[in-house]
């Protein structure tokens, strides 16, 4: 029997290893799998390469993962956002690496990684510093830059509904990078607002088919990043929290 449900966020992320590449869904807070990220902070895996459009905000979620020293390198398109405090400081002090990728090239590299395409050509970034060192090629009189597919060991994403096969739907623009990251990762871990019976998601309306999903945990009342930031919450790993008591 196929049942991809796991017991907890902690068990979902248990197999993540030091040095792994982790894709994390979300565009700003929309679609950010905050409970899975917090479980990864508790887990403690270090020297991670993280792929996300941004670098988190405040001192929760992705920003807290970075602040906890677990991220060696970010691959993203826009590391500066409102309330982004942690990344800029570490970046300026040389404690974290950055691979800056245009947003659409980032999306296409992830999609290519998931679709078995090792490289493709795009017009994006031709003639800019972000094309430096990359192969240029002319097709029908236009210049294009070669970009490489991007894969990951794990993807952490947030869904609206999931069934035990791993079929997923998303909520509005929280969909963003999740479906392509699910394709590009060897192991895709999903926190879903709701678990539903097989067949409850119309086969026509499945956004991510279960073949791209490995583990699912229901988080029916996920925390909202912006609210946590507003409340001044600082996420500390459970071990540290315990140590402080």
């Amino acid at each position: 029997m196929i049942d991809k449900r796991v017991a907890s966020c902690a068990s979902a992320v248990a197999n993540i290893k030091d040095g792994d590449t982790i894709m994390i869904g979300g565009f700003g807070e929309a679609g950010s799998p905050i409970e899975l990220i917090h479980a990864l902070i508790d887990h403690g895996a270090k020297n991670l390469t993280v792929v996300n459009n941004n670098t988190g905000s405040g001192r929760v979620g992705l920003a807290a993962l970075i602040e906890n020293g677990q991220v060696a390198k970010m691959i993203c398109s826009y590391p500066r956002t409102a309330n982004s405090l942690v990344f800029p400081e570490l970046y300026r002090s040389g404690k974290i690496a950055l691979e800056l990728v245009p947003q659409g090239t980032l999306a296409e590299r992830i999609r290519a990684g998931g679709a078995g395409i090792p490289a493709f050509f795009t017009k994006t970034s031709v003639g800019t510093p972000l094309a430096d060192g990359k192969e240029l090629r002319n097709f029908e009189g236009e210049n294009y830059v070669m970009e490489r597919g991007l894969k990951a060991d794990f993807a952490l994403i947030k869904a609206k509904q999931a069934d035990r096969y791993g079929n997923l739907t998303f909520n509005k623009t929280a969909r963003n990078f999740a479906p392509i990251m699910a394709m590009a990762a060897k192991n895709t871990l999903v926190q879903t607002n709701e678990m539903v019976e097989l067949g409850a998601i119309d086969a026509e309306n499945v956004i991510t088919p279960g073949i791209f999903v490995n583990g699912i945990i229901e988080v029916s009342k996920p925390q909202q990043e912006s609210q946590l930031v507003k409340d001044g919450v600082v996420y500390l790993p459970i071990k540290s929290q315990g140590a402080e008591k």
Binding site: F27, N53, G104, T124, T128, P129, S226
Partner: protein
């Protein structure tokens, strides 16, 4: 004479207030967006363009984070943190909207399916090169977002920008000194002073804000402008619609 000098000084101090204001720049740009266009609006003044689409035109807004058919700001009741635009502001979706993932969203952009993109600029060159993502400063955190994809993929690129920087430096130049967002990508520039077309033969001033002269614009521009045979002075309303 004393009075005149004072008046001139005042006029200089008020340079930022002459010409079109931000609302009018957006309004002027909106006039050039055709009925039925698919449009992506950048953050800042470009966002305002949506408020000034002339009556009778239906325009569909794309936001690169996965929505075609973006509507107005939500009411408190409508607010959903999962429904945001590329600037991460809360938005709504119109009837007939569609959601999609980032791969599909940038396929629309890269594949030349979006008709118009309106963006801000740090610098624009006479060839239509655009710099709007980095000053190249060593200690800056580089951040590019979707700007390079938009200028490379969207059919028509409109720029809305103040004609000069806050310190009075020209932003429209022979060559950009800042790192480029894209080469030969800009089609038209809307500033507080005028409208300029980027043409193969160079920059062509096609319209002036009320009370602004060609020479006034040329003095604040880092490259020689040409002037269309009949430059009109477009007297927009006060930014209301």
């Amino acid at each position: 004479m004393n009075t005149l000098a004072t008046s001139n000084q005042q006029s200089n101090r008020q340079t930022a207030q002459i010409g079109w204001n931000r609302e009018q720049m957006a309004q002027r740009c909106a006039q050039d967006i055709e009925d039925g266009s698919y449009v992506n609006l950048g953050i800042g003044i470009p966002e305002k363009v949506a408020q000034y689409v002339p009556d009778g035109r239906e325009v569909i807004y794309h936001t690169e984070n996965g929505l075609l058919g973006m509507g107005n700001s939500p009411t408190a009741d409508e607010h959903d943190p999962d429904l945001i635009n590329a600037g991460k502001k809360a938005v709504t979706a119109i009837p007939g909207a569609a959601y999609f993932h980032h791969g599909d969203s940038f396929a629309m952009i890269r594949g030349n399916h979006i008709d118009v993109c309106v963006l801000g600029a740090m610098q624009v060159s006479a060839k239509g090169d655009l710099a709007n993502w980095s000053t190249g400063a060593v200690d800056a955190i580089p951040a590019v977002g979707g700007a390079m994809d938009l200028v490379a993929g969207v059919k028509t690129i409109f720029i809305i920008t103040q004609h000069t920087t806050k310190t009075g430096d020209a932003k429209i130049l022979a060559e950009c000194s800042f790192p480029l967002t894209g080469q030969k990508v800009v089609n038209r520039i809307y500033t507080d002073l005028c409208v300029i077309d980027v043409r193969p033969e160079g920059l062509m001033l096609i319209e002036l804000a009320p009370g602004i002269s060609f020479d006034y614009v040329q003095q604040r521009t880092g490259v020689t402008l040409q002037s269309a045979a009949h430059v009109t002075m477009n007297n927009l309303n006060e930014g209301q619609k």
